[in-house]
Amino acid sequence: MITCTGCALLCEDIEVIIENNSVKETRNACRRGAARIKGCVNRMVPSIDQKPVDIDISLKKAIQILKNAKAPMLFGFGNSTNEAQKKAIQLAKKINAALDDTSSFCQGHLIEKVLHNKFRTCSLDEIRNKADVLVYWGSDAQDSQPRHLSRFSYFPRGELRQRGYEEDRLAIAIDVRESNTAKICKGHFYRIPLKGDREFILALMDALSGKVPTYDPKKMLELAAILKKAEFGVIFAGIGLTYSIKDDIDILVALSDKLPNFHIMPMVGHYNMRGFNENLFNETGFVNRVKFSEGKTIHDDKYSIVEALKENTVDALLVVGSDPVSSLPRSIISHLASIPVICIDPCVTMTSKIAIVNIPCAVSGIESSGTAIRMDGKVVELKKAMASNYPDDENVLKRLLEVI
């Protein structure tokens, strides 16, 4: 049995059949997980200026770039183990670097609220055993965390929910699009206009307080009545919701105050994004967007990857297990062409294609072991199932840390 690192559910029940040091078959994994476990077709090779070199030479070049940089930044880490993330934090401290991760333009704000105990949250196991009303809000779990409904939320039998979805559980979707998850929530799909989440929350809060909401009163009162009756409710806050209320995340806290039987769970994509947030939080009190300066930690939006690239404030970028050239707007990434980029990844990515230095690493959870933090905060062990020719990212970062 291995743990899948395809998403932040970190399914621990995956069987793999390995032949000639490659995965021939997987069992129990979803489509996304099976593809992750079987691996990419384009494995990275060590290179400098896109020309293959020995891995030690690429490491030396990376050290030289980081040593010479006046304003280096370390970015990525959603696909790194806790152990690698902790090494990255140490490295950033040592070289007075800015440090950010993908949560910066994803679920970081919500996870920060969770870590500051701003709203009730719960574990996935509690959801399986107790949850009766599930609200998928701006979240298409069926496509992003594909075994969420089957392992934890809607379909399984649980201690207090013996009759599962047939009788004991009700699923609701609130979304701009009729997603595959919304299709499952038959009769309980609330379609909202683009960026209409805030207005919907305000109307729902009115309905919960017994006022007649101005926005779609009939549906709002019907939804409020369902939510009020819940014994153990959960709002699965997806990226659609987070982006829509990004300027006023506290409105979700206000809604949760009106729903005493509800818990909020940020739906995390990358397998250890929450891990990065927790590891940095434990070390500095912040979840992302920091800069270290002679032992002090400065937290500012200008240290987010997006603002740093937009404003050209970094002069070297180390990217670990992430592909910002693919995942950020093209209007923002042009600065990457003018600074040295170092890429540590198991696979060739759009970022590795523009990097000055590429350092390949083992795939965590298959070719190397470690731990990661599931979307609900549970620490999960990752097991090694086969050998790799390359060190894992923890070891690459350790070597950079030792030499610099």
Binding site: A35, S104, D143, R177, K310, S326, S327, P329, S331
Partner: protein, 135 residues
């Protein structure tokens, strides 16, 4: 030989609002080979509701140019299989959708991935390659 006047006539442009979503088949293709044909096919497309397509004179599998001041991409049209209320089209989150995302963030570090305003018109150009979406 007659002159192909059609090629000098620009196809009418329509305003379009686009939001992004995730698709398990596209994510699977990404995991396997982000430079492969499957990932390109599943990413370089726009899903539009039937009524909106009729209004714009666009058909299923037409090729369109989508552009705004941040960038432009050529993708294929897919007719939505669902009843859509209209007014919003859908692109799966990918380098193709990211080519159209605004750089306006108000200094807050989060781009507007979910609301893209652009112009759409029919084209005969080749689908934008992933290689050309690099910096």
């Amino acid at each position: 030989m007659g002159m192909d006047i059609g090629k000098f006539l620009k196809s009418p442009e329509h305003e379009i609002k686009i939001t992004t979503y995730r698709d398990i088949f596209q994510i699977e293709a990404l995991e396997r080979d982000r430079f492969g044909e499957d990932y390109r096919k599943l990413s370089a497309c726009i899903v539009i509701g039937k009524n909106d397509m009729q209004k714009m004179g666009i058909k299923d599998r037409d090729r369109v140019l989508i552009s705004n001041k941040y960038g432009s991409v050529v993708v294929d049209v897919k007719e939505s299989k669902k009843e859509e209320p209209g007014g919003v089209a859908f692109m799966v989150n990918s380098p193709w959708s990211n080519a159209l995302v605004s750089d306006v963030t108000g200094g807050k570090g989060i781009p507007e991935f979910k609301e893209i305003i652009a112009k759409i018109s029919l084209t005969k150009e080749e689908i934008t390659s992933i290689e050309s979406l690099r910096v």
